[in-house]
Each structure stands twice: as C-alpha cells, then as structure tokens.
C-alpha cells in the first residue's frame, strides 16, 4: 500500500471541487464531502494492515512517499508522508470521527444558507488534519498545522453575522498564532543545526549529540509553545471555550477530537527530543498540563452553557494528556487521546442533538429532558461517565493509565492534584447530566417539541457510544492480539521500546472510589432544585465569582490588548505621524524653506553689497591658503 498520500488528497480534491462547482451539484455536494472522507477511512485499513505486516522492519515508512515542494540549498520542504504507529492511531481517530461528524452534519446543518460552504470547509479541515498526522517533516507539519488553524477560524466564525462568532474566530486564530510564533522559531532552530526538517533525521542528529543541551531545551520548549496554543493549555487556553460559537458538529470534530489534540500529537511525536533535552523541559510540560487540568475542572463547575462545560472538560482532558507526556509516557497520552476522541465527540454531538431539539443551550433553561430524549440521555450519560472515569468505559482505562504514570514519577504533588481532579471531574460531569436531563424542566416552551433526533444524527451517536463502551479494552494485550495487533495498545504505540499497559488494582480502586464520590456529591448538590449548590455558591461568593469569570484571565488579556497592544499601536501610529513625519520630515522641509527665506535678504541687487562680499571672500580665501600652506 504505497498510496498513503491519497488519504489527505481525496478530501483535498473534494474541497477544491466543492469550492469551484459546489453550487451546481445536487444537494450542494454534501455527498461528495462525505464520500471523500469515507474513502479516506476505507484506505486507512490497507495502510494499517500493511503496517502490521511490516512492524519488524525498522525502516518501514508505511508506503510513504515524498515530493519536492521547495528546494534551495539546505532548505528543503518535502511533501513527504510517513506512517508509523503514532500516525495510525491518529489516522483512525481523525478519519472515523470526521466521517461520523459529517454524516451527523447532514441533518444538523440542513437548511443553512451556507450548507455547501460548510461541507467544503469540513473537507478542507479533514485534508489538513490528515496531512498533519502523516507529515514526515516538521515544515509540512507546520503547513498543515496552520491549515487546520485556518479551517478552525472559518468554521468557528461560520455564522459570522453573529458578533460573538466573529470575535471568537478571531480570538482562536490569534491566540493559537501566538503559540505558533514559538513553534516556527523552534522548527527553524532544529533545522539550523541539523540541516533538515525530516523528523527521523532530526532524531538521529540529536541522538548523535548534534545539539547542545541548552539549545535543544530552548528548541523543544518553543515547539511546546505551539502545542500550548493549539491544544489550549494554560495560559493560551482562553480561545477554546469561546470557540463553541461554531456549529456543534464543528466543536465535536475540531475542538474535541482532532485539531486540539494536534498539540498532544506534536509533543508525543517529538518526545525523544524532550527526553534528550534538560529534564526541565518535561517538568514544564507536566506543570502546564496540571495547571490546565486544575483550572478547567474548577471552571467546569460554574459554567452554565452546556457546550462550554463540555469545552472545559476538553481542556481538562487535554491537560491530562499533557501530564502523561510530561511523565514521558506516549502510551498513556495516546490511549487517552484515542478514547477521548470517541467519548468527547459523543458528548458534543449529543449536546448538538439537545440544542437542535430545544434551541437552547444554557443549563438554566434545560432540565428534565430524559423522558423527551431517552436515547440522547443514555448516550450522553455514557459519555459523561466515561469522562468521569467509571469502569468499564474507555475513559476509565485511559485515565487510570495516566494516574499510573504520574504516580510512577514519585511526584506526590502531581499525584494528589490528579486525584483531586478526578473528583472534580466527576462532580461537574454529574452536574451537567443532572441539570440537563433530570428534575423538572425549567423552560417548558423549549421542551415542547423536544424529541430524539432523526436517525441520520442518532446513528453516529450510537456508534460513538459503542466505541466508548468497548474502546478502552484495546489497552489489553490479549484484546490487541485477538484483533491482529502484536499485543495491546501499549506495545503497539511505542517509539523506542515497548511500553506495556499496566493495571495496578490499588490505583484503579482508589480512582474509582473518588469518581463515585464525585458523582454522589454531584447528585447531592445539583439534583432537584439544586439548593445545596446555591448555598455553596452563596457562602463561597468570591470563589464562585472567580470561577464564573474564568479566573478573570479573559478580562486580564482584554486589558492587556486594550491598554498595551492597541495602545501601543496607537502610540506608534501617533509617533509616526507627529514625530517622524510632521516634525522630522516636514520640519526638515520647513528648514529648507526658512533657509531660502533668510538667504533672500542677501539678494539686495546693489552693486556695492556684492563688491563688498567678493572682497571679503577673497580675503578669507587668502588667509585660508596662507594657513594651509604654512
């Protein structure tokens, strides 16, 4: 199977076709977009089988292929594709979730005036995301990285008539772009010493001691800045909750399952460099990840928009994956990424069904939906329990593995905070479920016509729910072997040496008890009229307000933008106009005019004046000559 490049190329071709001819196609060409991503999903299987057949060959590139795009001296950008285990996991996630989301979108986006444009951009995004995971060199990865960012920009701002959507799109692009400044500098720094962008060649160069430790540490931390932006880690996480302005299927695909995990993928891919660098690099990864976790779980407690709560849970999950990577475990991070893609897409798409049915998305207007939307409530519950880490759902196995590896690191601060986050996660996911589906409806008007969505939307939900139920078992060696893999997830996804999945009972039991405690507390606080929750909010007013205002980070950033960035722009603009131009440029011109004005008084027109000037001149010149010659 040497045609891996077809996987991104087919959706790319679909994008071009939809852009040019979309409005002439029946149904605006939605079938073309779905057909393209389905084709990519189908091609994924021979690629997978090919990889399994060749696992023992170290130089196997999965039928990768490269075309020269830019070539100038040492500066080469290849359109190079490469398949390994890490890529395979990402390919599976991206192509499957993209397919599910696009099928779901047919019903969800029906009747939208820009229906065709939506599917064109979905194809564009899929092409860029698939290129990102297949790229064999850092610059192509960067190209795709910016490409998914652009797709996200357009799709967040898809309903750009809404001021909030336009602002959210802008915020997402600019915030991630700040991280990308670091990413690009880091890539160029790696290139400068190694003379190549090729990832495996950079690894060889680094293992040969090509980079000094400080240089490599700086470079990987700059790469990590890119991941912080894209994967919405503290302090650049602020764009992700706002990004919920996009259509809900977009949130499911881009802001849960695929694009936001690109940063995780990047760090996982480059982990050998992080390990060669100073240990401080991985400590930074852990610290940033843990901060993100703690901030997001607490913010999840107070948010009332159903999509924003799920967005905070995404931040929570992304932070957990970063903690896993900070502990040096690609397996744990990728297992969580794999499981998360399914249950988070499930949560978002179920939320989409709720929004579609009720046209409301604020918890204060929902409630009591389980009788109206039984299927949705069950699949949503599965997703929520998986997020909370309850046995035997996918999220349980993945989260436990992260707890294990962070516990292995002997860092008790990390471990304690991780356990605390498990409790709060269960707490706010319970709150979300309880406030949405149980109790009495708070807005009867919204509930009147609510019902489970049509099959076009429900089938993807059921498929994702099924995967959430069983997906976690891929962690086990025997399950993997039964499916034809050389062991479990851990043995499959390795970079240097096999990293087996391990399952200490003590951690599992402890985390399960904590999660159940969280659920129980959630039920206590928020069921019925949620009186205990109100009392808690009343008595902890400053805490509540801090959380409800997202730790005032958005306000702080806005202040910096208004009073530093934009004010700086205004000051420089003023300086340019008044100092550089009006003073220096016009001033020097005015000086010329003034000099001319002064000189004109020498033009008296009287012969004696001129004769005097000539005589004086002769005398001066004579004196000068005398002085010089002597």
């Amino acid at each position: 199977m040497g045609e891996v490049w077809l996987i991104p190329a087919i959706p790319a071709a679909a994008f071009v076709a939809l852009l040019l001819f979309g409005k002439y196609l029946p149904r605006r060409g939605d079938w073309l977009a779905i057909g393209a991503i389905a084709a990519s999903f189908v091609i994924f299987f021979p690629v997978l089988i090919d990889l399994l057949d060749n696992l023992d060959q170290p130089d196997f590139t999965g039928g990768g292929r490269a075309w020269e795009w830019v070539s100038l001296d040492a500066f080469n950008i290849q359109l190079g594709f490469h398949v390994d285990q890490l890529t395979i996991v990402m390919l599976a996630v991206v192509s499957f979730v993209a397919l599910m989301v696009q099928v779901y979108s047919v019903a969800y986006m029906r009747g939208d005036p820009r229906y065709g444009w939506y599917f064109a951009m979905m194809s564009f995004f899929a092409a860029a995301m698939l290129t990102l995971v297949l790229a064999d060199n850092l610059l192509l990865l960067y190209v795709a990285w910016e490409g998914v960012g652009f797709g996200s920009y357009i799709l967040i701002g898809f309903w750009h008539e809404r001021r909030s959507a336009a602002e959210a799109a802008k915020k997402a692009f600019i915030t991630t772009r700040i991280g990308d400044v670091g990413l690009l500098i880091g890539i160029i720094l790696l290139w400068r010493e190694a003379g190549t962008f090729d990832i495996s060649e950079i690894f060889e160069f680094a293992e040969g001691g090509g980079y000094s430790a400080e240089y490599l540490t700086l470079a990987v931390l700059l790469l990590f800045a890119g991941a912080v932006g894209k994967s919405a880690q503290f302090p650049l996480h602020v764009w992700l909750p706002d990004a919920m302005e996009g259509p809900t299927p977009v949130s499911a695909l881009i802001h849960a399952a695929t694009m936001v995990v690109a940063g995780i993928y990047l760090v996982a891919r480059m982990l050998p460099l992080f390990e060669l660098a100073d240990p401080v690099a991985l400590s930074v990864v852990t610290a940033i990840g843990l901060t993100t976790v703690m901030m997001s779980v607490t913010m999840g407690l107070t948010a009332t928009d159903i999509k924003r709560v799920i967005a905070y849970s995404t931040l929570n999950s992304l932070g957990l994956m970063m903690v896993a990577l900070g502990s040096g475990s690609v397996t744990a991070a990728m297992l969580y990424l794999f499981a998360h893609a399914f249950f988070k897409a499930l949560l978002f798409l179920s939320a989409g069904s709720i929004i579609h049915a009720t046209e409301r998305q604020d918890l204060t207007e929902l409630g009591g939906l389980s009788s109206k939307m039984p299927v949705t409530s069950v699949v949503f519950g599965i997703g929520a329990l998986s997020m909370a880490g309850i046995f035997p759902l996918a999220g349980f196995w993945a989260k436990d593995e992260i707890l294990n590896v962070s516990g292995d690191n002997q860092n008790w601060v990390v471990y304690v905070f991780m356990m605390l986050s498990v409790f709060i996660t269960a707490l706010y996911m319970t709150r979300l479920f309880v406030r949405t589906f149980t109790g009495r409806p708070r807005n009867h008007h919204a509930q009147e016509h609510a019902h489970d969505a049509e099959p076009m939307m429900t089938v993807p939900l059921l498929l994702l729910a099924a995967l959430t139920l069983v997906g976690g078992f891929v962690a086990f060696g025997s399950v993997g072997e039964a499916l034809g893999f050389p062991g479990g997830f851990g043995e499959f996804v390795f970079l240097e040496e096999a990293e087996a999945f391990h399952f200490p009972w003590d951690v599992a039991i402890l985390s399960t008890l904590i999660a159940i405690g969280g659920i129980a507390a959630g039920v206590y606080f928020w069921s019925g009229e949620a009186a205990p929750a109100r009392r808690a909010a009343q008595s902890l007013r400053p805490v509540y307000r801090t959380l409800a205002n997202n730790y005032y980070l958005d306000d702080a950033y806005q202040w910096v933008i208004n009073h530093v960035v934009l004010a700086g722009g205004a000051v420089i603009g003023w300086f340019d106009r008044n100092v550089v131009n009006d003073t220096a440029v016009d001033g020097s011109a005015g000086l010329g005019v003034f000099a001319g004005f002064g000189m004109k008084f020498l033009e008296t027109g009287k012969l004696p004046n001129y004769a005097l000037a000539i005589s004086l001149g002769v005398i001066v010149i004579s004196i000068v000559f005398l002085v010089v010659s002597v």
Binding site: H160, R177, V565
Partner: protein
C-alpha cells in the same frame, strides 16, 4: 526573442503616443486602448517569465544591446548603451509589473476626469518600471527610475483624494509633494553613488556586467554602499525613511496605489540588490547588520502602526512598510535562502498589496469612507469582495498555501541561517502581529451584524472582480507551486558575489 524586452518598454511609451492621438471625448476608446495595451504587456511579461531558459550561471536572457554613446568625452567603449536583459531576479519582477498593470487598468475603468491624461501618465510610469527591471546599464537604470517616479506627482495631485481625519488633514497635494521630494532626495544619493562607481571602476562605461567585473576598494565599498542602500531604500520604504508611503497611498487613486505599493516600492529593493549588493558585496556585508536592524524594525514598527489605524488605506500602507521590512531582512541575510526569500517577498507582496488596494478602492467608491469602524457585516452584501479581502489578508499574515508564506519562510530561515536569531524571532513575531491587525479589520468591518447604513451597497463590479481573480490566481499559484519562482531567482542569486 530579444525584441521582447525592448517591446515591453516601447509598448507603453508607444501607447502614450496613441493616447495623444485620440480625442479626449472618446473616453471609452481610451479605456479599451489601455486595456489592450495592458493585456499585451501582461502577455509579454508572462512570455518573459515562461521562456526564461535555465542555463546555469548568471547569464542574461533576452540580451539586447543598442549603442547610444561611446568613445566621447569621459565615455569609453560601450559608454552608455541601451542594454536590456533579464536574469532570474528580474524575470519575476517583470511578470509582477505585467500583472499589476493589467489589474490596475481594470480598476481604473471608472476614472472619468481626463482619463486620457491619466492613462498617459500611468503608462509612462509603467514604461519606467519595466525599464528599471530590465536595464543592464546603470545610466538607463537611473533614467528609467526617474521616469517611473515623476509621473506619480501628477497622478496623485490631480486624480488623488484629500482626507480629513478630524485631528489632522492630509491633502493630495501634500501627499504627492512629499512622496516625490522624498524620492528625489533618494535619487540624489543614488546619483552621487553612480558617478563614484563609474569613476572608481575606470572602465569608461555604465554597463552593469562590466561594472560588476571591476574591483572596488574595500573602503570605497563601505563608503558608497549606504548611498545605494538609503537612496534606493527610501523608495523601498526602508524604516525610518518610510513616511512618504502611507500618506502617499492615502492620497493616491486606487490603481496608482496598486502600482505604487505593488511595483514601485519593489524598484527600491531591486536597486539595492542589483546595484548595491551586486556591485559592492563587501560593502553590503559590512552594512548588513544595519540593514537587518532597520529591516526588522520596519517590520515590527509597520505592523504595530497598522494595528493602530482605523483608515483602511493607512492600514494597508503601514502593512507595506512592514512587509518591505521583511524584504530588507532577506537582503541583509546575505545568503541564498534569505535573498531568494526577499525577491519572493517582493513578488508576493506586490500581488497581495495590489489586491488589498483594489479591494479598499472597491468599497471606498461606494461608501466614500475608509473608516473600518464605520462598517460592519459587509460580508452580507459583498461576499466575494470579503473572500478576496480575506485571501489577501491571509497571504499577508503568512498562511501556508498562499504566496506570503513561501516568501516569509525563506526570509526567516535565511535570517536564522545568517545567525541573526533575534531578528528572525522578531520577524516571526511581526508576522503574528500582522494576523492581529488583519483579523481585527475583517472582524470589525466585514463580519458581525450588518450595519444598515450600507443597505444600498452592491457587490464589486465584474471588472473589479476580474482584477482580483487575476491577482489571486498568482497568490495561490506561487503559494502552491513556488518552484518556477524559486528556480529562477535562486539561479541568479547563487551567482551573485558575496552571497553565501
């Protein structure tokens, strides 16, 4: 094929004569004549680009040498000749000029006031621009340089627009005068340096290939390189000699802004490369840290200034200062990646800034304001216009797949390779600031709820769309398949003296 370069200069000059024969009441005939001539120029420039033959070395293609003055007075063999040729640097620039003039004629269609005189001046300007790019004779290079600059005065002072910004007023006369006087000041420096070069070489000729073979003392190079650097740099918007540019753009009519930012500013950068670096590599090496500092300062300063603007044309004008700062960074890197990037950026910026000005003009024609805060939700009324603006903006902020990225990545890589880590990092930061001002503008003027004040707004006219599509084609083409550009440019750049 040697005739093609001569024809490229002769055609616009000849067309000005044709215009003079057309009675000015036939304004439609004037327009179609202009369109036909511009289309012919575009095709010829395309021909020059496509038929450029790779032969290795720094060979000159389409080489044509017509004697003018020799063996008299101070002139020796081949003293002053009309020596026309293109190399890999000039070929994309010729193409750029062809593209922008064709788009400019489309945009100039609605000039009603004395449109014959307008086109005469515009075509004289274009003849000068082509002349600079293809001249291999320093005398004619300077001659054409002046031919390109001077019509600007009348074009802005007669067909331009004065603006009152509340706190300050910029009249078109002021903009025109400042622009031309400033550029003439640069010409004085160039003029001095040309005679110094001629004398030091002692060959009795202005022929550039001959001058390039001559040897110049190190002190001489270090003394006179700044004359070229600043003299040409003024036209390239080199910080801090850039202030003619935003005011000039604000005053100029749309098509003049397009040519001006799109092509004319490139003459300056081209001059630094062809004459400054080409003749005085050691001088350039010595001054490159200064050029790098000025370039990166301009890139950041322009971007931050653009962030502070409300007027669309000022924003684009400052963004030009910023992007020309990238060109300076590329030149200052003095290695093949960076210098190639500089030439790529000249092309990329030329096309995308022309597109930006064309789009500003399309809105201004209908609304008579350029204040971005006065708009809102224009995407509802002008979806295609919004798409064009977005593409221009995305190219400008360096989105992969569009021309700006290809150019900027070369410049950044070249800058890092030359060891200017700080400058490379600040340059990348400037590109991120570009994203900020472009997206802020799009969000406030084009997205969000529609401002009913503009209910009568219509989509861009067909000819304006044609111009935009032409420009976008090249933005996407270069972004997707940069190889034809890179191969041509690098073939020549690698043979320049002093380029590591």
């Amino acid at each position: 094929m040697e005739w093609v370069l001569f024809a490229l200069i002769a055609l616009p000059l000849g067309t000005t004569l044709v215009f003079m024969l057309i009675p000015s009441r036939y304004s439609q005939l004037v327009r179609y004549t202009a369109l036909a001539a511009a289309a012919a120029m575009f095709l010829m420039s395309l021909l020059v680009f496509i038929r450029y033959e790779f032969e290795g070395g720094s060979g000159l293609r389409f080489d044509l040498q017509l004697d003018w003055l020799e063996n008299i007075a101070f002139l020796g063999e081949n003293g002053i000749t009309l020596h026309l040729a293109v190399d890999g640097i000039a070929a994309p620039m010729v193409l750029l000029t062809g593209i922008v003039i064709l788009a400019g004629v489309f945009i100039s269609w609605n000039i009603d006031y004395r449109n014959k005189d307008y086109f005469i001046l515009l075509f004289a300007l274009v003849a000068g621009v082509f002349g600079v790019f293809v001249s291999q004779d320093l005398f004619f290079l300077f001659f054409f340089y002046e031919v390109a600059v001077l019509p600007m005065y009348l074009l802005i002072a007669v067909w331009g627009a004065s603006s009152n910004f509340g706190t300050f007023v910029r009249t078109k006369e002021y903009g025109a005068m400042k622009l031309v006087l400033y550029l003439v000041a640069g010409s004085v420096l160039i003029f001095i340096a040309i005679f110094a070069t001629f004398t030091e070489a002692g060959q009795g000729t202005f022929d550039l290939p001959v001058l390039g073979e001559a040897t110049y003392g190190e002190t001489f190079q270090k003394t006179f390189f700044p004359f070229y650097m600043i003299g040409f740099g003024i036209l390239a918007g080199l910080w801090p000699f850039h202030t003619w540019s935003p005011d000039g753009h604000v005053a100029a009519p749309t098509a003049v802004s397009m040519l001006h930012a799109g092509v004319l500013m490139k003459l300056g950068a081209f001059g630094i490369l062809r004459v400054g670096i080409g003749l005085f590599p050691e001088g350039a090496q010595f001054w490159s840290p200064v050029l790098m500092t000025l370039g990166v300062t301009g890139a950041l300063y322009g971007a931050v200034s653009a962030l502070g603007q409300k007027d669309l044309k000022y924003m684009v004008g400052y963004s030009s200062v910023s992007h020309m700062g990238f060109v300076m960074m590329g030149l200052a890197s003095m290695n093949s990646i960076g210098v190639t990037g500089a030439v790529l950026q000249m092309f990329a910026h030329g096309v995308m800034t022309a597109l930006m000005f064309a789009n500003v003009g399309a809105v201004y024609d209908q609304t008579h304001t350029r204040d971005m805060t006065a708009f809102g939700g224009l995407a509802n009324k002008m979806p295609r216009h919004t798409a064009f603006w977005t593409i221009a903006g995305l190219s400008s902020l360096g989105l992969p797949g569009l021309a700006g990225f290809i150019a900027e990545i070369h410049i950044f890589v070249g800058t890092f390779q030359a060891g200017y880590y700080w400058a490379g990092a600040l340059g990348i930061l400037a590109a991120a600031i570009t994203a900020t001002y472009i997206l802020r503008m799009l969000a406030s003027a084009y997205f969000g709820p529609f401002n009913e004040r503009w209910a009568s707004l219509k989509e861009m006219r067909f000819r304006e769309q044609s111009a935009s599509v032409l420009l976008i084609f090249f933005i996407v083409f270069m972004g997707m398949w940069p190889k034809p550009f890179i191969d041509r440019i690098s073939e020549t750049v690698n043979n320049l003296p002093g380029i590591g």
